[in-house]
């Protein structure tokens, strides 16, 4: 079993994260119920005519892929693995609206083609001319973790050596309205910096693309080692602590060995209690970080959490904007991520300094 390393990162998010020379230097304190992404200069990566035809999710993913590939020093990867909860949602809505509004007439194929969930993985493969292994995972808030698990398996078993893995989701207007309707979104705009004091139901939404090159060969500039990712379709509240302890024990770790715990809390008063159990319980004396107040919530928001973990381990700096307490300012060697969305699809991801 080979060890697996994060050799490069790339993030397009609601913060200015696409420049790897920076690390959340300028915090944008959005005030909204949905946070827009800070767009990179797409033209620098994609010819403008091609970019105009591309769905937002494809555009973000191609740019993030190119940044990640560039930083890894590779010209090509062996495999491309994508996680996306909803795929290119705007094109799905565009095709479906046109279908319903025009009674199945005057439809064109472009939106339908882009609506398939694997369109991002396919487009990135086309762009990189990568004929290797290509998978797309679409399992709600465990979409990115599924992609990571597959990546880890392939690299550990030396089936592949370098893999581009990422998470991407885009906001779709109609779907967003439906999610507002059922109370999954906050009713009033909230300031990012005050999200966790809002004490109201629902989350603030976002979108973004976070891509990484993972490898079974360590480089001088590797960010961290991916030790394990584990998923649970369900996890009762009263078994959470015990399950985390068992998970850590299987890697010969105790709670006190964790230097930083990064939690996927999203400010939803109805569901953040899972995170509270940990932050006020076993991890009370551990340095804690939250990130969804700066990225917004989306199915693959946890890929932004993964980016945060990798950057923190590499730089040994935890930006003030994500700190939940102030117990540790350096020595981030072993980092644990925990995420769930609305009490489903829980995941633990364990990273180590390498």
């Amino acid at each position: 079993m080979k060890q697996v390393y994060i050799n490069s990162v790339a993030s397009i998010s609601a913060q200015k994260t696409f420049d790897n020379a920076e690390f959340l230097n300028d915090f944008i304190d959005h005030e909204a119920v949905v946070f827009p992404v800070v767009n990179p200069d797409y033209k620098a990566f994609i010819p403008p005519a091609a970019a105009r035809r591309m769905a937002k999710g494809i555009k973000m993913s191609i740019v993030a892929s190119k940044i990640a590939l560039q930083e890894s020093g590779l010209d090509q990867v062996d495999a491309i693995i994508t996680g996306t909860g909803m795929g290119c949602l705007r094109d799905s809505e565009k095709f479906l609206s046109a279908l319903i509004d025009n009674d199945e007439q005057y439809l064109t194929p472009t939106a339908f083609i882009q609506s398939t969930h694997n369109t991002v993985g396919g487009q990135v493969a086309l762009e990189l001319q990568c004929k290797g292994y290509n998978f797309t995972y679409v399992h709600a808030s465990n979409s990115f973790e599924s992609a990571l698990l597959d990546t880890k398996l392939l690299l550990s078993n030396e089936e592949e050596n370098n893999i581009l893995v990422g998470g991407v989701d885009e906001i779709g207007e109609h779907t967003f309205k439906l999610q507002e309707l059922v109370g999954h979104v906050k009713k009033e705009p909230v300031k990012a910096s005050e999200l966790f004091e809002s004490n109201t139901s629902g989350a603030v939404y976002g979108e973004g693309a976070n891509f990484f090159v993972l490898s079974n060969e360590k480089q001088n500039n590797s960010y961290a080692e991916l030790v394990r990712v584990k998923m649970f379709n369900t996890l009762p509240k009263d078994q959470l602590t015990e399950t985390i302890e068992t998970f850590l024990a299987s890697h010969n770790l105790k709670i006190s060995d964790i230097d930083l715990v990064i939690l996927g809390a999203n400010g939803d008063a109805d569901y953040d209690d899972y995170y509270d159990i940990l932050s006020q319980g076993v991890f009370k004396e551990t340095q804690q970080a939250y990130y969804k107040h700066i990225s917004g919530e989306f199915n693959t928001a946890s890929s932004f959490g993964f980016w945060l973990a990798a950057k923190t381990i590499q730089s040994q700096i935890l930006p003030a904007v994500v700190k939940r307490n102030d117990l540790k300012s350096t020595g981030f060697k072993t980092v644990l991520l925990y995420n769930q969305y609305r009490n489903e699809n829980h995941s633990f991801t364990l990273l180590k300094q390498c």
Binding site: L107, P109, T119, K131, N134, Y137, H139, L153, L181, M231
Partner: protein
């Protein structure tokens, strides 16, 4: 890498039968499940033919014993029926006795309900329950719940028409690596206006019965189906003295990297997928006794796949046929239903006829199997290719 992963159970529901036995009966009787669409109101009713499952949603709800306030989409209903048959077939009483996961796949997810209530959801509270059933992972979560799988690995793959083949592949790798002891793998897709109209705009739907590998083929018939396999580790098979139906012997996944919807002229991705699968199985091409082809009956697929088969097998192409003329193209589920057909072929030493074939393709000389053929089979190759250049091949064998 050459050791196969044991398959101990299978379940299926398709246009040619509501369980494994009915599907097999239709296959050997040459009985097609293709008809005019009856359960979806569409303007294209007279322009297309489909592989539709006879049961209504109400029938399926009753079969599963669900409450009337359930939020199951048709994808989830079909998936739950087939997955339950697979688990029962594997003789599993206590699903959580061992570390058991579910790897499902779908392309439409809950689109059937979303398109029905797209605007109505805003005014009618009673249909809002389907809003959260739209995303692709929802049907998997519901199937897992129906099977009683909790606190475990449940995920969903969506790589268009190769999805379920990839679910089988991932499942086999999870067992080999010891991540799971047991895993239910497969896929489900229902018919929807969305996919009918999408494929219509691509102009690849036939207005009559689809004719795979025929020179005058006019396109595909969409179908709906669900199928699942149960894979188990060698330790469990030994410990519980399990009957093994067949083995997942090899698998290969590649990307054509040619076009978002079309396959390359010479089937580069398909060739790579078949070659990789043979390598994992530690097989030579002549170890394959039958190929259950993707064979969608579109101009593009059958030409590209045929050429790829010739590239891999050269002048020794084994018997091959597409079963899409029976079931229609069931998209994400195709890889799973054809896995069940492949396993049945191995168990019964039989090759299914490629129905509706009349005219030899001009571009090459290979001809699909046209009559039901009894022949000892040791290994069957199953191809599944999809949009986005996704190409997958799985090899099933009688011995590990």
């Amino acid at each position: 890498m050459s050791k196969g992963v044991a398959i101990t159970g299978m379940g299926i529901i398709s246009a040619i039968g509501n369980n494994v036995a009915e599907n097999f009966q239709s296959l050997i009787e040459g009985k097609k499940g293709i008809s005019r669409i009856s359960k979806i109101q569409t303007n294209h009713v007279n322009d297309i033919m489909v592989g539709e499952i006879a049961y209504t949603n109400e029938d399926l709800v009753e079969m599963l014993g669900l409450n009337s306030d359930n939020s199951f989409t048709r994808t989830a209903l079909l998936g739950a029926v087939a997955a339950k048959e697979a688990v029962a077939n594997a003789g599993i009483d206590d699903i959580n006795a061992y570390n058991t996961g579910l790897i499902s796949s779908t392309s439409v997810g809950g689109m059937d309900m979303t398109e029905k209530y797209y605007y109505e959801s805003f005014d009618n509270k009673s249909v809002q329950k389907y809003i959260e059933s739209h995303h692709a992972g929802d049907s998997s979560q519901k199937i897992a719940e129906q099977l009683g799988i909790d606190k475990s690995l449940v995920t969903t793959i969506s790589t268009a028409c190769s999805s379920a083949a990839n679910a089988i592949m991932l499942g086999a790798r999870l067992i080999k690596s010891g991540e799971l002891d047991r895993v239910v793998v497969g896929g489900a897709d229902c018919l929807s206006k969305f996919t009918i109209n999408g494929f219509k705009t691509l102009m690849i739907l036939s207005d009559t019965y689809n004719t795979p590998f025929d020179d005058n083929r006019k396109g595909l018939n969409l179908g709906e189906a669900a199928a699942y396999l149960v894979l188990e580790s060698d330790e469990l098979v030994k410990k519980d003295n399990k009957k093994v139906l067949a083995y997942v012997k090899g698998y290969g996944n590649a990307n054509d990297a040619f076009h978002q919807t079309a396959s390359s002229d010479h089937g580069d991705g398909a060739t790579l997928a078949m070659e990789k699968a043979l390598k994992v199985a530690d097989f030579n091409p002549d170890n394959i006794d039958y190929i259950n082809a993707h064979g969608t009956a579109t101009g593009n697929n059958d030409l590209s796949e045929g050429r790829a088969i010739i590239r891999v097998f050269e002048d020794k192409v084994p018997c091959f046929s597409s079963t899409k003329a029976y079931t229609g193209h069931t998209l994400a589920a195709a890889g799973a239903i054809e896995a069940v057909f492949s396993i049945l072929a191995l168990q019964n030493n039989v090759i299914y006829p490629n129905l509706n074939f009349k005219t030899q393709m001009k571009e090459f000389e290979i001809t699909p199997q046209l009559e039901l053929k009894h022949k000892p089979l040791n290994a069957v190759m199953s191809n599944s290719f999809g949009f986005g250049g996704n190409c997958s091949t799985v090899i099933f064998s009688k011995t590990p």
